[in-house]
Structure formats: structure tokens, C-alpha cells
């Protein structure tokens, strides 16, 4: 042991041996282990020790701390007949620890429940996809300007990319299940775009999509079902308008806008002074999309709608930074306080 630390040890072991009352014991304990006590002071001096001696100094100091603690404790035990208090239990009491689903999963489950009650299956498909499934089968041929709406992340191998939208899952669904008509399917999924990551944008985010193919499906079915979903998610008083909106994979296209929950339609920075927040896209599945999936559009019709989950989840959980959702500062209170 470091000579200086050795001297200190001997000095305090001797002092402990001479203690007579509980009061003296407590005074010495504070002198050694209090916030401004000797041990803390010695630890703070570790930065002044030469680099080559630091390791040994740390070891010795920890040993000194342990020895003095033990010595105080044993003194305590020797005088136990004089103690006025008694520890009743060694158990640490707390409320039971509970685990939590990620808030995105939570939102997905709420939506899955709505759609399962209507007879929907839950579906998924690969995340590394070909250009064909991400664009062409969704009525977006090569060099179509609609491709500029989405900056894709490509894999080194040509023609492969990370899916940019959950509509890509629709491409797989229609191809794989075109002999199982009618179909109803909903699919949550993570999607990727080449976006700089900052507090409001991320390269990976989460969408939710639902697709129906049946005979005689109409826009009335689409809008009624979407409205049911919004009311389930946002409450019965939510105000949503449905307007004409372009997406290459649907026609007629429908854009649901929710009246801004912050300003209630007056206009504020959240809704960019529009009074409304765009909630995603939808529409009747384009005849070309059905045709590419081998589905006869004269017999079958259908609708599709999709929405982003991240922004709503952030607003609901008071999360200001989208990075929090993906491995950042997201944490869960360990129990329901």
C-alpha cells in the first residue's frame, strides 16, 4: 500500500479503537465518509498522481476505504448492545417493475385491433426490395416524376433498394394473394428514405397501410373506414376532411386532413398556418396496379390508405425529437407512479 495511505490507515484504525460513544463513532464516520470527508478528498486527488502510479494508488485507496468501513462496522457490532435502533428487513420495497411496448408498436396495435375487428389480416413483406415492387407495380414507371417524391436508399447491387413506403407491401400482397380474393389486409412497417437525420426528420420511419380488394368497393367504403380509424385513434370529436389528392397508385386519390389539434383550424406553426394537418394518402386502387397484379379490374375493385405513425406518436407522447424514437433518449418509467 502507498506509504501515505498506510499511515492514514494506521492512524484511523487507532482512532476507531479509542471510540467510546455512538456520537464519537458518527462524528468519525462523517469525517471519513461524509461528502467532504477524507476518503472523497483522497479520491479527488487521484488526478494529481503520476500516470504510472495511478492504477496502484486507486487500488490502495479502495483497499483503505474497505478496511476503514469494515473497522467502523465491527466497532458498531461490538457495541450493538448499546444500539437504540434495529433494522427490520433487508428487502427493498418498490412497486412492481413493468415492461413497455415501444410507442410505435403501441400505436400499431391500436390500429391492428380496429382492422382485425373488420376481418383484416396483418401482413408484411421484405424490406430490401426491387425497383419493380417499390415503383413499377405501383404505377410509377422509370423516369416518372413521382419518383422524385421519394429519395430512396439503394443497395450496392443495382435495382435493389430499401422500401420507401408501405405501398410496397401492397405490391407483394396483390401479387401473392391474387388467387385468394377477396382480401382485407393491414400492414405496419418501417420504411426508409434518404433524409438527413435531425430533430424532425429521420431516414427510417413507420407507416401503416390497409388494403381491401372485393367486388363493389367504393370511395364511400374507403372514407367511412378511414374515418372510423381516425376516430378510434384520435377520439370521437376529431374533425377530418377528405379531399382530392394525387398518388400514382390510386385513382381517384383521397387525402385525409385532420383539423389541427393545436390551433383547431385557426392556423399555427404546427400546421404551417393551414389549420389542417395532412394525415397520409389513400384512394381507389388504380386499374393499372390491379392489372399488373393479375387482378381483373372489371370484376374487382379496392381501396388502399396509408399514414405515417411517427409524428402522431410523438405528439401523443410529448416527444419533441424524432431521433428519440430510434434508440435515442426514449425510456420508460419503471412502474406506474
Amino acid at each position: 500500500m502507498n506509504q501515505n495511505l498506510g499511515t492514514i490507515k494506521n492512524q484511523y484504525i487507532s482512532k476507531i479503537a479509542d471510540l467510546k460513544t455512538d456520537k464519537e463513532l458518527e462524528t468519525l464516520r462523517i469525517e471519513l465518509f461524509g461528502r467532504n470527508g477524507l476518503i472523497n478528498d483522497l479520491f479527488s486527488k487521484i488526478k494529481e498522481v503520476a500516470p504510472e502510479d495511478k492504477k496502484q494508488y486507486g487500488t490502495d485507496l479502495n483497499q483503505l476505504k474497505t478496511d476503514l468501513e469494515q473497522s467502523l462496522l465491527s466497532k458498531n457490532v461490538q457495541k450493538s448492545e448499546k444500539l437504540t435502533s434495529e433494522k427490520l428487513t433487508s428487502t427493498i420495497f418498490g412497486l412492481p417493475k413493468i415492461g413497455h411496448l415501444h410507442p410505435i408498436t403501441q400505436t400499431e396495435r391500436e390500429l391492428n385491433e380496429v382492422f382485425r375487428k373488420l376481418g383484416f389480416s396483418i401482413y408484411n413483406s421484405p424490406e430490401i426490395v426491387t425497383d419493380e415492387f417499390n415503383f413499377t407495380r405501383l404505377n410509377v414507371p422509370k423516369d416518372h416524376p413521382a419518383r422524385d417524391m421519394q429519395d430512396s436508399i439503394y443497395i450496392k447491387e443495382p435495382e435493389y433498394l430499401l422500401r420507401t413506403q408501405t405501398s410496397t407491401i401492397e405490391s407483394y400482397l396483390l401479387k401473392n394473394e391474387n388467387k385468394n380474393l377477396p382480401i382485407r389486409a393491414a400492414f405496419p412497417g418501417s420504411v426508409y428514405r434518404n433524409e438527413k437525420v435531425n430533430h424532425s426528420n429521420h431516414f427510417v420511419f413507420h407507416q401503416y397501410q390497409a388494403v381491401v380488394i372485393d367486388k363493389g368497393i367504393t370511395m364511400k367504403d374507403l372514407i367511412g373506414t378511414m374515418d372510423l380509424m381516425f376516430k378510434t385513434l384520435y377520439g370521437p370529436n376529431v374533425v377530418v376532411r377528405y379531399r382530392c389528392k394525387y398518388y400514382p397508385e390510386v385513382e381517384p386519390g383521397v387525402g385525409p386532413d385532420m383539423q389541427c389539434f393545436k390551433c383547431h383550424g385557426v392556423g399555427c406553426n404546427l400546421c404551417k398556418y393551414a389549420g389542417w394537418i395532412e394525415m397520409g394518402g389513400s384512394g381507389m386502387i388504380h386499374p393499372n396496379v390491379l392489372k399488373m397484379a393479375g387482378i381483373d379490374s372489371k370484376v374487382w375493385s379496392g381501396f388502399a390508405f396509408g399514414m405515417g405513425l411517427d409524428r402522431w406518436t410523438m405528439a401523443q407522447k410529448n416527444i419533441k425529437d424524432i431521433r428519440t424514437l430510434m434508440g435515442g433518449n426514449l425510456a420508460y418509467k419503471p412502474n406506474e407512479l
Binding site: L101, R109, N194, V204, L337
Partner: protein, 600 residues
């Protein structure tokens, strides 16, 4: 796209709705309007024009839509021009990427700073005023959605050539940007000089206030070529935004005549050439068989046939009766109308989406369950894990280091050059999450992630669902894996990972809805102790509940009782609490703590 109310009214003199109503109506028919504002006493709307409606990147296209919607006439602001000149411009076109060009030479003009109305117009559109001639070409672009250009013939000569770049290595644009060219660039040159790109004018023939003679041209090109050129040169201009869309060559004469008349009116001068009009392949609009009843069948509400036919007529379509249906030839300006579904959308949007009821959703229908069974497994596992106290996290699927370089999937254009690989394991992501939790001083963490991991085997990409787990207590981690009947690989004692795809899967699982106590941590948690002396022995859980309520959920992360002592002399009980606080500073935490436990 900006839209000035007073300028729109020039095309629609009978427009009488208030700006608020106009904003809502334009939005409902497909052009989302964020807001309107007042700039220099003008009411200016901010519109989001979708890529299929290149015609609406000009006032004329929007006015056409609104004239149908409000059933009011649209005014033609253009009038024909006459040229008495016998001079034929020596223009050459050596590429088939040109759809139509109209051009003319004007001499003896006097170019000055722009009149105030023109400066205000451009300011509202976020464009700087240069001089009258240049500003008028921009004005016409905003009115009709087709870019136009003026060459100073003293610099360019009359020998303009539309060609794919024959030899030029470099081009300097009007704003002085130097661009490096290759052979795939569509250009306007003379035999010696690079003059202009298809979407951006050049410095070498720029119009200034000394210009007295000009060749004015309006052209439409193969949009894919313009788009590729713009991407390749990383140059996005108002002109390229428009020329990348499917524009109507038939609209050029109207815009061209309007421009020439405005130049003569504002700059004087005389027309000094014949009108040059290159239009090799005349646009033919498609004939579409249309059954008006389908508008009702698709929308689910009754839309009268008369309305459908009237609406498409007002849109400018030609209508011919067929034996059982009708044939519609849409106006050439509407490049987005090519099949029956396009026409149905037109009718429904003008009839009004708001007339479709919102309270008639689909009802339950029993269909074959096509849910992949791994989804049931994942849902079931998540529920079991949270019942064991684990929190779910999600992490970045892109990582900086491959677990196995031989089979790693590499991205071509990742968002960040440091993270270019798709993860092959969840463990590195879980470790990063643990580091973050430790920085935040979160005690006793246990968490999991179920996400895809990726690898390349031969020419195939393999995606598998993986479960990654961390528990601060190794023994408990092992116990939990046993409870879940999972055989996992253990990493660094406290981490475990298992690929889920090969596990047995349930045929059905309906997951539970859970409460979610999620928090975005903005600072380290702060843990403080408090001793409380009570006269009687109390139930510790009730005490925790009581003091949790006193402290309040806004700042309390966790509250436990670490010790309970009985004073044998006084027969009193001492409870030692340990409280953790979040998203508040030390000082505030201490204040709350002292007040809650009455320690002041």
C-alpha cells in the same frame, strides 16, 4: 407555387369568392393550399401542385380548374401577333428531344427596369427583378407554366442551334454558376458558343439594359431528358421544375403571343422575323370510352349523368356519342387524363368529395386469414417480454461495422457515410442503447428489440426477424430465457440474441393493448435519499404510493424504500426512501424532494 388573387382574377373576372373560401375550394379539388398572406397589398396563396398537374404550375391551368368548379368563364388574355417580315430565322434543330419551339426576332427595343406591377408580381413569387425583358419572360412562365427565354442577338447571333452538347466542356449560367458538361446535355448554342441549357439561360447571351435586339423563344422538350440533365448538373430551376412535367405544346402559341405583345407594349420595338414554329409531331389527345354511371359506382353516391357530361364539357373535352357509352377526348392541356379512371376522378372531385358520407365504414367480413405466422410469434413474444419487465426499444438498422464482412449488405447512398451497412445482429444496437441509458444514469435497465437483421448469401438477400435482449442481472436474464423456452446466444454476459424465423409459431395470437409510460429524457436522472420517522409501522407499498402522489408523476421516475429501522428506545420507525427524478435540474430536484418529505 404562389398564386396572386388579383392576377387570377384577370383570367376569371367573375370570380367573387373570399380568399378563405378560395383557399378551401382549391384544396378540396386537389391543390393543397397552406395559407394566404398579404404581400405589397396583394393576397398571395401558397399551393402544393402535384407532379401529375404540370398544367397547374401556371395561373392559366389553375384558372381552368376553377372555371369548371365555379362554372364561370375563363378569359383569353392573349391575342394573335402578325409579322410583316420576310426574314426567316436560321434556327437549326438537330435533336429529337424538342417537342415544339416558337421563336421570333424583335429589334429596336428599349429595355429598362421593370414597371412596378411586374416587380411586385415577381416579388410575390420570390423572384428578383432583372429588367423588363427578362422579367416578362418569367411573368409568362408563371402565367402559363411554360418557360420562355430571350437571347441578346448582339451576343448570340441569329444562328441558334438546339442540339445535344456537341463539344462544350463548361457552361456559365445567368447567375454565374459554372457547370461541367458532358454529351448528354440538351443545349441551345450557336456554332461557336454555348448559349443556354434547356432549363437555364447562359451568361454569354444574357439580356441587359443595353439590349436592343432579341430572339424570344418558348419551347417544350422531352421531359425525361430535362429531368436527367437537371439531376446530373444538380441544378433545379423554376424552368426545370416545369419542363420536367408533361406540358402541352398546343398551349405554346397562346403564351408566345401574350409574351410578344407584352414586350412590344412595354419595350417598344418591331417584329423583325417571321414566326418560327417547329412542331414535328402534333399532339393527339386520346379518345376515352366513358360510362358516366361508373362515377356513382366508384364514389358510392349518386352522381347524375348530366353532371358528369357537363363537367367534362366545361373542362374542354370533346364528347361523341357511342352506342352504349360516350367517347371523351380530353383537352390537350390535360396530359393526366388518359383512361376512364382519370375522367371518373375529374367528375367526383368537381361533384365534391365532401358529399361522400363519412359514417358508413366497412362492416366485419370473415375471410381467410393470410397473416404470416411469424407476426403472431412476434406479438406473443412482445407480450411475454413486457410481462417480465422488459422495455421495447427500436434502433438504427444501419451500422458502422459489419458483424461478418463476407455476408454484409452494403448501401450505395446511405444518409451518413459512417453507417453504410445493414445490421447483421441486434447486439451492437442494444449496446449503444445501454451506453445511452448509462449516460442518462438510468438504474437497473432491461430491454429488448425485435427487428430484422440482414445478410447476403450468394445473390440473395436474406432478412430474418431477430430478438435481442439485455438484462442488468445475468442470472435473471437466464431465468427469463428459460421461462420463455428460448435458447439464445449470450454475449458479454448480459446480452442475448435469437433468430425467430426457425422457432415454432402459434396459429393465432391476439395481442393485448398496453399502457405506455414512455418519456423522452432530456437530462440525467437524479437520485436522492430521505429518512422518514413515523410513530407506527406502515405498509411500505402504501407509503410509496402516498409519496409518489405527493411528488407527482411529472418529475418522479422511481421511488423505493431501501431500509426500515425500528428505534427501540422511542419505539418509532425510520423509513429510508430513495427517489429518482427526471428531466429536472439538481436544484429543482432537491427542492421537490425536501418539500415532499417535509425535510426543510
Amino acid at each position: 407555387m404562389k398564386l396572386i388573387y388579383s392576377e387570377l382574377k384577370k383570367f376569371l373576372p367573375d370570380l367573387s369568392v373570399e380568399p378563405h373560401q378560395l383557399r378551401d375550394d382549391i384544396t378540396m379539388i386537389g391543390h393543397f393550399t397552406n395559407f394566404f398572406e398579404e404581400i405589397n397589398d396583394e393576397i398571395v396563396f401558397d399551393l402544393d401542385i402535384k407532379v401529375n398537374r404540370g398544367d397547374c404550375l401556371g395561373y392559366y391551368g389553375l384558372a381552368r380548374d376553377l372555371s369548371v368548379f365555379y362554372n364561370i368563364p375563363i378569359k383569353n388574355l392573349s391575342s394573335n401577333i402578325n409579322s410583316q417580315s420576310n426574314y426567316s430565322l436560321p434556327i437549326q434543330i438537330t435533336t429529337n428531344n424538342v417537342k415544339r419551339i416558337m421563336a421570333i426576332k424583335i429589334s429596336n427595343l428599349k429595355n429598362n427596369p421593370s414597371p412596378q406591377w411586374l416587380q411586385t408580381f415577381l416579388k410575390c413569387h420570390g423572384v428578383n427583378s432583372i429588367n423588363t425583358l427578362v422579367d416578362l419572360t418569367n411573368y409568362i412562365m408563371f402565367l402559363y407554366g411554360i418557360p420562355s427565354h430571350a437571347f441578346d442577338t448582339a451576343k448570340s447571333t441569329d444562328n441558334l442551334i438546339w442540339e445535344m452538347n456537341p463539344k462544350f466542356k463548361e457552361f456559365t449560367s445567368l447567375d454565374g454558376s459554372k457547370l461541367i458538361l458532358d454529351k448528354n446535355i440538351l443545349m441551345i448554342n450557336n456554332p461557336d458558343k454555348a448559349l443556354s441549357l434547356s432549363f437555364w439561360g447562359g451568361e454569354s447571351c444574357a439580356i441587359d439594359e443595353t439590349t436592343t435586339e432579341t430572339i424570344i423563344e418558348i419551347a417544350i422538350y422531352d421531359r425525361t431528358t430535362v429531368r436527367q440533365n437537371s439531376r446530373q448538373l444538380k441544378s433545379n430551376t423554376e424552368a426545370s421544375t416545369r419542363l420536367e412535367k408533361d406540358l402541352d405544346p398546343e398551349l405554346i402559341p397562346m403564351a408566345f403571343n401574350h409574351l410578344v405583345n407584352l414586350i412590344l407594349e412595354n419595350c417598344g420595338g418591331q417584329i423583325n422575323s417571321q414566326i418560327f414554329d417547329y412542331y414535328p409531331n402534333k399532339v393527339i389527345s386520346p379518345q376515352i370510352e366513358f360510362d358516366p354511371k361508373k362515377c356513382s359506382l366508384v364514389s358510392g353516391i349518386n352522381i347524375p349523368t348530366d353532371f358528369s357530361v357537363d363537367c367534362l364539357t366545361r373542362l374542354g373535352s370533346t364528347i361523341d356519342d357511342l352506342p352504349s357509352t360516350i367517347s371523351i377526348t380530353p383537352p390537350s392541356v390535360r396530359k393526366d387524363l388518359s383512361i376512364e379512371a382519370d375522367l371518373i376522378e375529374e367528375v367526383v372531385r368537381f361533384w365534391g368529395y365532401q358529399k361522400i358520407p363519412t359514417n358508413q365504414p366497412l362492416t366485419f367480413k370473415e375471410l381467410t386469414d393470410i397473416t404470416p405466422k411469424e407476426i403472431y410469434l412476434i406479438e406473443s413474444l412482445k407480450d411475454q417480454l413486457i410481462s417480465l419487465g422488459y422495455d421495447e426499444i427500436l434502433s438504427w438498422p444501419l451500422v458502422d461495422t459489419p458483424t461478418d464482412p463476407k455476408s454484409v449488405v452494403t448501401t450505395q447512398n446511405s444518409v451518413n457515410t459512417e453507417v453504410i451497412y445493414l445490421r447483421q445482429s441486434l447486439i451492437p444496437s442494444l449496446k449503444r442503447q445501454l451506453d445511452q441509458y448509462e449516460r442518462l444514469k438510468l438504474p437497473e435497465t432491461q430491454f429488448f428489440e425485435i427487428s430484422k437483421v440482414f445478410e447476403k448469401v450468394g445473390d440473395n438477400f436474406i432478412e430474418k426477424n431477430s430478438l435481442g435482449l439485455y438484462h442488468y442481472n445475468f442470472k435473471q436474464l437466464i431465468n427469463d430465457l428459460q421461462k420463455l423456452n428460448l435458447s439464445a446466444t449470450i454475449f458479454d454476459n448480459n446480452f442475448a440474441e435469437i433468430i425467430l424465423d426457425d422457432l415454432p409459431k402459434p396459429n393465432k395470437y391476439i395481442p393485448k393493448l398496453q399502457n405506455n409510460n414512455v418519456v423522452e429524457l432530456t437530462s440525467q436522472t437524479i437520485t436522492l435519499d430521505a429518512n422518514l420517522t413515523l410513530d407506527t409501522k406502515e405498509n411500505p407499498t402504501e407509503l410509496i404510493k402516498k409519496y409518489s402522489k405527493i411528488i407527482g408523476p411529472e418529475s418522479l421516475w422511481k421511488l423505493i424504500i431501501t431500509d426500515i429501522y425500528q428505534d427501540t428506545k422511542t419505539n418509532k420507525y425510520r423509513y429510508t426512501f430513495q427517489a429518482s427524478y427526471f428531466n429536472i435540474d439538481d436544484k429543482t430536484a432537491k427542492k421537490i424532494h425536501l418539500e415532499a418529505f417535509n425535510l426543510i
